[in-house]
């Protein structure tokens, strides 16, 4: 069966232990969580968890049903095939040498990255993009010397109003 990246959005009660139960469902069914974001929603009693996992098409059905069974989960949505805006944040520490300074600055401009700190020979870049683009940007900068990198993993909202 075709394996693909799934992005799952969960609304959960903001309670101790909830994340652990969710992680337990994934590990007991043999799936790996590739990225994970958790934050409170506008209602502090409810958190949104966005996570990604690579799996076959059965995944949504199997995992969703298991997650639905957890008492502290309010809703589970697989956003993979639903129109939605997906973004993640990446921070890069980049070595800059005289001979490629111009090329790097042009690329930063082209990709729409932000420079958040700068030394004579070191840059810290902030990238906000969907996951594919984030990966492409990382690949582009790698040959220049990426010394540090950190990514948040994806978050997402529906493209249409959920009501």
């Amino acid at each position: 069966m075709a394996v693909q990246e799934h992005i799952i959005s969960l609304l959960v009660n903001n309670q101790p232990g909830v994340l652990s139960r969710i992680a337990g469902v994934f590990s007991s069914k043999g799936y790996n969580i590739r990225s994970l974001c958790v934050a409170e929603t506008t209602n502090p009693e409810i958190s949104r968890i966005t996570l990604t996992s690579r799996a076959d098409r059965d995944f949504t059905d199997k995992i969703k049903k298991q997650l639905d069974r957890l008492v502290d989960i309010i809703s589970v949505t697989d956003l993979t095939d639903i129109p939605s805006v997906k973004r993640e944040l990446m921070i890069l520490g980049l070595r800059v040498r005289e001979e490629n300074r111009q090329e790097i600055l042009r690329a930063i401009d082209l990709f729409g990255c932000r420079i958040v700190a700068m030394d004579a020979d070191y840059l810290i870049l902030e990238v906000t993009a969907n996951t594919d683009k984030t990966v492409a940007i990382l690949k582009f900068f790698e040959p220049f010397g990426v010394e540090e990198m950190n990514r948040t993993g994806a978050i997402a909202v529906f493209r249409q109003s959920p009501s």
Binding site: G17, S20, S28, E45
Partner: protein, 563 residues
Amino acid sequence: MKTKLNFHKTMGADIVLKVLAEEGVDTIFGYPGANTLPLNDRMAESPIRHYLMRHEQAAAHAADGYARATGKTGVCLSTSGPGATNLVTGIATAYMDSTPLVAITAQVNSDLWGKDAFQETDIIGITMPITKHSFMVRDPNQLESSLRKAFHLARSGRPGPVLIDIPRDILGPVDNGNPRDMPENAPLITDDASSLARIAEALNRSERPIILIGGGIKLGDACARATRFVLEKRIPFTSTMMGIGSITSANGLNLGFIGTHGNETANSVIHQSDFILALGVRFTERSTSVISEFAPLAQVAQIDIDPTSVGKNIPVDFQWIGDIKDALEALSALVSPRDRPAWDQRIEEERTNRASRNGDDGCGEAGALIRKIQAAMPRDTIVVPDVGLNQIWTVRTWQCHTPRSLITTGGMGTMGFSVPAAIGARVGAPEREVVVICGDGGFYMNIQELATISSYRLPIKIVILNNGHLGMIRQMQDLFFDSRFTTSALGGAVDLVAVARGFGIPAERISAQDHAEEAITRMREAEGPYLIEALIDQDNYVYPIIPPGKSNVEMISGKDGRA
């Protein structure tokens, strides 16, 4: 310094006991420790009866047995640390068979939590994969609502164990002037009737239909309705091990149970069927054997209350999620009784073929002894087998005449289950006789519960089928490991009759053939508990059996692998 006056302080323990009583609990199986003491202390003034077991594992099994015998929610109680971890096997056993159970564990004081205090253990973390849900009560204002929710969750939807961990200080004087509710749960989803209509249509069209009964029928309290359905529509049925005894009238439609140790007729007929109506079944490999070869010709319609069970292990052609009673109600209007003479004839041939080959049901003298026991006991006796050959012998030979007459660990296969589960069953159903059928290995695993039986004078009848071995392991070694009998001999050094008498339980030893009837009569007539140690030949195995990796129609009937 002025001390604060505690005008509006309540005892947390009293809240617990009040909620338990209001939830209909009259019995708790437990074991105390420093952290449960505030609760034990208040029990004197409560109508709830606390049975003091001799091990926490046994407390969980007893609560499980109580629930299986009564249909009510079982409750067990233990202290923190070792008390709580001792419950684990019992909770897992209840989880695998979806028993409604509330396990209450006392926890160290809130101010010690997280400090590796004496007898502190993260029992919530340990039991996460084996509970439906769990609560750590952090705020006395949530004690009552957490308890109520625990009971609600334990018995709603697909039932199961729920654990509630209460710090010792919250069992003491607390301020709960500001009670908080737990968040509401999403209502259970039920599929609409149109999918039932499609199921009925396919069933009506089918030429070789069969009904498969699972544990969900008992759990959903649907035995009577399922019986009516089967009788009205005259459709042959088989069951899983957990489904045995759901339909009890002898009506000629029962083909036995399927699976590794199941009846050949059942396995063979389901293999030939073209339509399976699966009611409250989860299709474990114990029932299906090699999944890809299970019932290759059949369309499958699965009806269950738990969406995660549907289509999990085998692909299904039709499904309906919801209450099994509602499904049966709707189906009985939609399914038309039909004559299927070719199918009836084929089933009849299967039956007579097998019967002539395996006259004794493949259980040998052990099976014959179990039949004698049943013949001597009242019709509605509850039988509680342990695990091993003894379990298979029992489920293959015992005829269930009334619902809830077989209590057995299906999903977990926990040795040591029978004696404590029988305690719970007898406490829950004091009007019924309870018989334990146990191997010597499993008997040793909760042997301390003889003390509970004798101290409460519970008239439980125990039959140990003593073959001096871990018999089922021995059989597998004999068949699949070239008869190398490592690690499976228990020997005969222990005088089990003397052991039982030492616990205050009258006992005698018989061989399976000799004097069995008289001994069984003495056992039946004994006022209190009674134990029979029956010596069984170590080579008395169970046949037929499906070898690992084979399909349901590749059963073998002997060591030479003959079919």
